[in-house]
């Protein structure tokens, strides 16, 4: 039936493609007796759910894959080329990507931008040009979105340190502010943003229009001897950041015009063992990985990837996950991992799921209540993990 077949092949182009917002997986039409000809279409998805997790492909895979933690199935992908940064609109309408593209791949004209994707069609809506951004990747705090979803802050390093501010409502670059000696941003609602500094202080950048006023806290940590992992966590409900240092010290900072920083405690001491030290030859449990911790905000429990080693092994993957109750400053559970994991996130749901991946790019979903590994996804992506944080 050549004519029929030909029709099928060409029909789709003439129709245009129907956009189906129905079931995410069409059942194959071949289980019954009569096999019917099919036409091609394109699926869409719902806005981000708290049970989903977003895995950056990192160096090897130029996309952030969206997985449903409950089914372990992939929902779609957002383009995130090497060294791009990904963020979710707090209202769930958009996915944002801060990225740098040369006009000829690795040569030509440099183009920096925030690309805006519709969260249901995953279509590119627009690009907001930027004067620049840092090229590093695998960081969650070089591209942050304010809690109200109206402003994005894009860290730049040229190698002069600064921040580019983007109006996400007008989708326009607003201004660039300098941020000497600091990086690793966190939102500071109603003020602007805060950042960690090489002198061990927390800088707070108050933004008024295109003006920025920078104030510093007293130094509270050693940026060179016991650095704070720059993939820290931020809780928008409490307006609070939780920091973790290489040795295992945990700080919390209450944000505002003049942030206050808690006295630290040791994660090892919280587990009943001796605190981590900076001296070599002292074998101990240390935190490590690229994204070494995740905060379950409803319960105030922090999940930390831990490994046995010496100091300066801060990039090593974790062989255990320690669950810390931040209120009581106790490690309430230690879980052994089947294979070492490098990045960790947790769903902000009543029944939290841990999302982890390792250097090989395989991801797992673990039920916190039972400790059971619910799903294992090969080649999910090897870099940072993001979750939607319901308001």
């Amino acid at each position: 039936m050549p004519r029929t077949a030909a029709r099928g092949l060409f029909a789709a182009a003439a129709w245009g493609w129907a956009l189906l917002a129905g079931p995410t997986q069409a059942a194959p039409a071949d289980t019954g007796a009569a096999l019917e000809m099919e036409t091609s279409d394109v699926l869409s998805i719902t806005p981000p759910k708290p049970t989903w997790f977003f895995v950056d492909g990192g160096w090897d895979m130029p996309g952030t894959s969206i997985f449903d933690g409950e089914t372990g199935k992939m929902k779609g992908m957002v383009e995130t080329r090497r060294l791009a940064d990904f963020a979710i609109d707090p209202a769930g309408k958009y996915y944002y990507v801060a990225e740098t593209i040369w006009s000829k791949g690795d040569r030509g004209t440099r183009q920096d931008m925030v690309s805006v994707y519709d969260s249901q069609t995953l279509n590119l809506i627009t690009e907001v040009p930027l004067p620049g951004r840092i090229l590093i990747g695998a960081r969650k705090n070089n591209f942050i979105v304010s809690d109200d979803g109206k402003t994005a802050y894009v860290y730049d390093f040229s190698p002069v340190s600064g921040v580019n501010i983007v109006d996400l409502v007008k989708r326009k670059f607003v201004t660039a502010v300098e941020l000497p000696g600091c990086a690793s941003m966190m939102p500071n609602p109603g003020v602007g943003f805060s950042a960690l500094c090489s002198d061990g202080s927390l800088a707070t950048v108050a933004i008024k229009g295109t003006k920025a006023n920078i104030t510093h806290s007293a130094p509270f940590f050693s940026a060179t001897d016991d650095p704070i992992f720059d993939n820290f966590t931020y809780d928008k409900h409490k307006k609070e950041t939780t920091f973790l240092t290489y040795t295992g010290q945990i700080y919390q900072a209450k944000l505002g015009p003049t942030p206050t920083i808690s006295a630290p405690f040791s994660i090892q001491a919280a587990a009943g063992i001796r605190p981590g030290e900076t001296k070599p030859l002292e074998l101990n449990w240390y935190p490590g990985g690229r994204q070494p911790m995740a905060l379950h905000r409803p319960s105030g429990h922090l999940f930390v990837l831990m490994h046995m080693g010496e100091y300066w092994s801060h990039k090593a993957s974790g062989t255990e996950v320690w669950e810390v109750d931040l209120a009581t400053q106790k490690v309430v559970k230690r879980r052994t991992l089947k294979e070492p994991m490098n990045n960790i996130e947790v769903s902000q749901t009543d029944k939290p799921m841990l999302f982890m991946n390792g250097e090989g790019g395989n991801a797992i979903v673990v039920d916190v209540a039972t400790g059971e590994e619910k799903h294992r996804i090969e080649r999910a992506g090897g870099s940072t993990i993001t979750v939607a944080d319901p308001s």
């Binding site: 030909a6 099919e38 279409d41 996309g63 279509n123």
Partner: protein, 181 residues
């Protein structure tokens, strides 16, 4: 399914693909292509007729002998007898559906695959979904009756993203387009 004037459709599409070439020029080029040798998805049909595949158990390929009809996220699903790439069913799409934000190519390579439930051969259009980076899930490369570049519509290595906004390859679908018997 609606009725179409397939020839008219085809021509319109092909003119679009050729980037605004005049009708006359396009027809002469197409004519040459169609007469001299199959270079379009129209033609797998004549290929399917020409091959008159032996579908007795002994005539089945290794793929056909082991194929299943239940799980379209596995490489041994019957329609995938000549697919090459990531299965869209593992990428947020479906057997004939592109994942969100990707765009199906209107032209494709084809396979002739045997459904083990009815023992019949069907024409499968492997339409690539384009415009997103490679999905990376469920990579399959099956090669029943897959041939080389000089028979492009039976070659599964070509990036079949023509007439789409972007030619970036995301994943492949396996669309049932007709019976090959």
């Amino acid at each position: 399914m609606k009725k179409f004037d397939a020839d008219a459709m085809g021509e319109r599409l092909l003119r679009k693909l050729a980037g605004g070439t005049s009708r006359r020029s396009m027809l002469s080029r197409l004519g040459a292509a169609l007469v001299a040798a199959p270079a379009f998805p129209l033609l797998p049909v004549s290929r399917a007729e020409a091959a008159k595949p032996d579908r007795s158990p002994e005539g089945k390929t290794g793929f056909a002998r082991n194929a299943q009809t239940k799980d379209d996220t596995k490489c041994d699903y019957w329609r995938y007898c000549a697919i090459d790439g990531a299965l869209c069913t593992c990428c947020g799409g479906g057997i004939h559906s592109c994942p969100p934000g990707a765009e199906p190519s209107p032209v494709s390579w084809v396979g002739t695959c045997i459904n083990p439930d009815d023992g019949k051969a069907y024409l499968i259009a492997y339409r690539d979904c384009c415009g997103k980076p490679a999905c990376g899930q469920c990579g399959c490369d099956n090669t029943d009756r897959e041939t080389q570049l000089y028979v492009p519509q039976l070659n599964n290595d070509v990036i079949w993203c023509f007439g789409t906004t972007s030619m970036e390859y995301h994943c492949s679908t396996a669309v049932l387009v007709g019976s090959a018997s």
